[in-house]
Symmetry: C2
Subunit: 268 residues, 2 copies
Amino acid sequence: MKILVVSAHPDPASLTNALRDVALGQLQADGHEVRITDLYVEGWKSHVDRADFPALPDAARLRVPAASSEAFATGTLTDDVIAEQAKLVWADALILVFPLWWFSMPAILKGWIDRVYAYGFAYGVGEHSETRWGDRYGEGTLAGKRAMLVVTAGGWEAHYGPRGINGAIDDLLFPIQHGVLFYPGYAVLPPFVVYRADSMGESSFAAEAESLRARMRTLFSTAPLPFRRQNGGDYAIPSMELRPDLAPHLTSFAVHLDTAQQGIGPTP
Amino acid sequence: MKILVVSAHPDPASLTNALRDVALGQLQADGHEVRITDLYVEGWKSHVDRADFPALPDAARLRVPAASSEAFATGTLTDDVIAEQAKLVWADALILVFPLWWFSMPAILKGWIDRVYAYGFAYGVGEHSETRWGDRYGEGTLAGKRAMLVVTAGGWEAHYGPRGINGAIDDLLFPIQHGVLFYPGYAVLPPFVVYRADSMGESSFAAEAESLRARMRTLFSTAPLPFRRQNGGDYAIPSMELRPDLAPHLTSFAVHLDTAQQGIGPTP
């Protein structure tokens, strides 16, 4: 299979990059074809601005969704963005590897999302009508593919537990796993999270590396998180609220998981 | 009072920047002293890298927390970061104004957090021992100050409702409100969120502007979100898990709100 690994740590010798290389080694050993986007090595431009839309007339306002839509449709996005979109289309699986900074991804990786996820590519896809709100949340350009996060966190695991002070890791990652990955169609695998990243000894690293290798060996067989598909009947249109009979009375992120599901698997 | 407004939209004529200017106008009309950091106008450098730590020896690894701690302690952070830290210390209130891109802040604003929030300034503050886990979540360098988000979102309000498909807005903003603002000490006010930002007409704008002016007039009297203080007795040390008798059996972000509280107010 084909796998794209995107990593975002400025220190080549970091734990984050060491884990990336462990993943890479296992995937290659298993015969997969792997490509890497190391955002720091590539000098990735983080912020969306006018330079992203070279065909936008000087006098025109920068309305980001409209500019993005026009540039995507006419093939006038910048070369770096076009190259990353091609990698996403090429890959059967996407792995994002990053340190958790301030409970989210580093700016350079957020900028990769903000710029590569063009209108017409990652959003604004499919029919929008009275009865259908586009192809998203389980459908879209990247449907049929898998995605997974590999995250290093400085804090203790308990602090990210269900009642830990930082907030539960599953909820902290929801905007990424559901909002960034599931949205354009990916089936999202459970994340691989390493805690106390700044104080990890060699024996702990060896254990984490072995766990990560195991996750790589099962990349195409692990059951994805059972996020509910937008167009599977669970949500009302156009309010896009979960039907009252499903997970009744609950209001947390967890309502968007169908715990009765066995895992949604790649779209047939 | 003194207020810092940080904004992050690349289009000077955007709704986001129009709302920023509405807020600014009201604050100035009320006699406050206001400073602005417009990250796009300033050409803010988004990503953390070695250039942020000019005193770091060439041969040394870039261990971000250690490099950040050393540079903050020795006053060798870069001038742009030092200037922003001084503004944060100067201001009685911080207002972040941004479009919600992929369910979080734009990369350029995340990069402002990643770079300005140095070790010793925004984290790694206070005593760390068997009985105390530092000054954070309600205590820290920025305690006694207030912070508030002004957010523009493209989607419909119902889609961000308690059971909306995007996830509840309060939960989507938790990593920012709790993890970025409450963490270094801010009392966090309820956010001001505008929906359907890309299709707003003039009459809707006028109504939103009036609501925002009202929020600005009450910036120092509105009750903050009742996030639980780390060192107020609600969390066990060192696991930092919420005591079992508080919000029993619940595990969502909501457990970190003390709904019996009237609002935590500025630290005395």
